[in-house]
Amino acid sequence: MRVYRIAEQNIGIEALHDRVYFRCTAYETEGAPDFVVRTVPADIDRERERSAREDRLEGRPVRAWSDEYLEELAIYRQIAEIMPTCDTFLFHGSAVAVDGLGYLFAAKSGTGKSTHARLWQQLLGDRFTYVNDDKPLVRVTGDGAVIYGTPYDGKHHLSNNIAVPLKAICLLQRGTENSIRRLSAREAFPRLMQQVYCPEDREAFARTMGLLQELTRQVRFYVLSCNMDIEAARVAFEGMVSSNS
C-alpha cells in the first residue's frame, strides 16, 4: 500500500497496476492513511461495462480502454464515494486559479471547457495556474469552498497539487458571440447536478446534496456563451473576476 494526500485526506491505495501509483506520485505522503481503497479485477470489469454502457447511451462506438486506465477510474470512484464524509465531492470540470483564487468551468463533454481554460492561460500568463483540468475535488465548509488539484486530470494531464478558495463556477455553452451573465443558485443547480459525482451510496449522496446546497451560498454562478477566440476569455474574466475584485 502507498499513501497519498489528496484534498486534506491521507488515502491508502492498494492497486493492481503500477500506473495507478505513478499517476499519484506528486501526492505521495509518509503519513498514516485516513482510509484505504483497493481494487480487485472485478472492479476493472465493472468500469469497462460502465464505460461501454455510457458509450452506447451516447450513441458512439464502444471504446476499448486498458486495464490500467480502468483501474484508475475504479480507484477514483472509490475515493469519490468516501469523500462526501469529509465534506468533499468530485466535480467534473476544468478548475483554474488566477492570483490564487479558484474558478471552475463546467460544460457537457465536448463543449470546450479545456479549450476555454487554455484561453485564460493565454490571456493571463503568469497570473494563471491550472488546478485540475478534468476532475477536481471541492471541499465545502461553513467558511467557504476550496478546490483541490487531484491526480485525475484529464487527457492533457493539466493539474497541480494545490488548493485555492473557489470563488465562482461558470457554465459554458457554445455561441457565436461571447457574453456572460450571472445565474441564480436556482438556475445553476440543475446544471451543476450534471457535473457532480453522484455516489451510489445513499448516505454519501445525501451528504453531497447538502454540500451542494451549502456551495450555492458560497460561490457565484455564471453562464458564458462563448466561441474559441481569446475574446471569450476576456469576456469571462471581466465578468467573473475583474468586476468582483
Binding site: R186, C198, E200, A206, Q213
Partner: protein, 86 residues
C-alpha cells in the same frame, strides 16, 4: 413500482428537488422540481401514504378543502405515474 424511497429531497432557494439515487438513478436521469406543497405531498408518498391519506394530511396541515386537496394530490400522483415513479 414505487421508487420514491430511492430519492433524496433537497432545497435550493425555496425550490425543492427530488433527486434519484441508487436503483432510482438507474431508471431516471432527471430530477423533479417542486414547490413547498409539492414537496410535502412527495414526503407523504415517500412515507407510504396512499392518495386518501395524503389528502387527509394536507387538509389538516394547510386548511384546504377536500375537493382542492383531491385535485392537487391527484394531479401530482398522475405526473409521478406517467414518469413511471409510482
Amino acid at each position: 413500482m414505487n421508487v420514491l424511497k430511492d430519492m433524496i429531497l433537497t432545497e435550493i432557494e425555496g425550490e425543492w428537488y427530488a433527486v434519484p439515487v441508487g436503483e432510482a438513478a438507474k431508471r431516471f436521469s432527471g430530477m423533479i422540481r417542486m414547490n413547498k406543497t409539492g414537496k410535502r405531498i412527495f414526503e407523504l408518498l415517500m412515507e407510504g401514504k396512499d392518495q386518501d391519506g395524503v389528502v387527509r394530511q394536507l387538509m389538516e396541515e394547510y386548511e384546504v378543502d377536500e375537493a382542492t386537496a383531491q385535485s392537487n394530490v391527484g394531479d401530482f400522483i398522475g405526473k409521478l405515474q406517467s414518469a413511471g415513479m409510482l
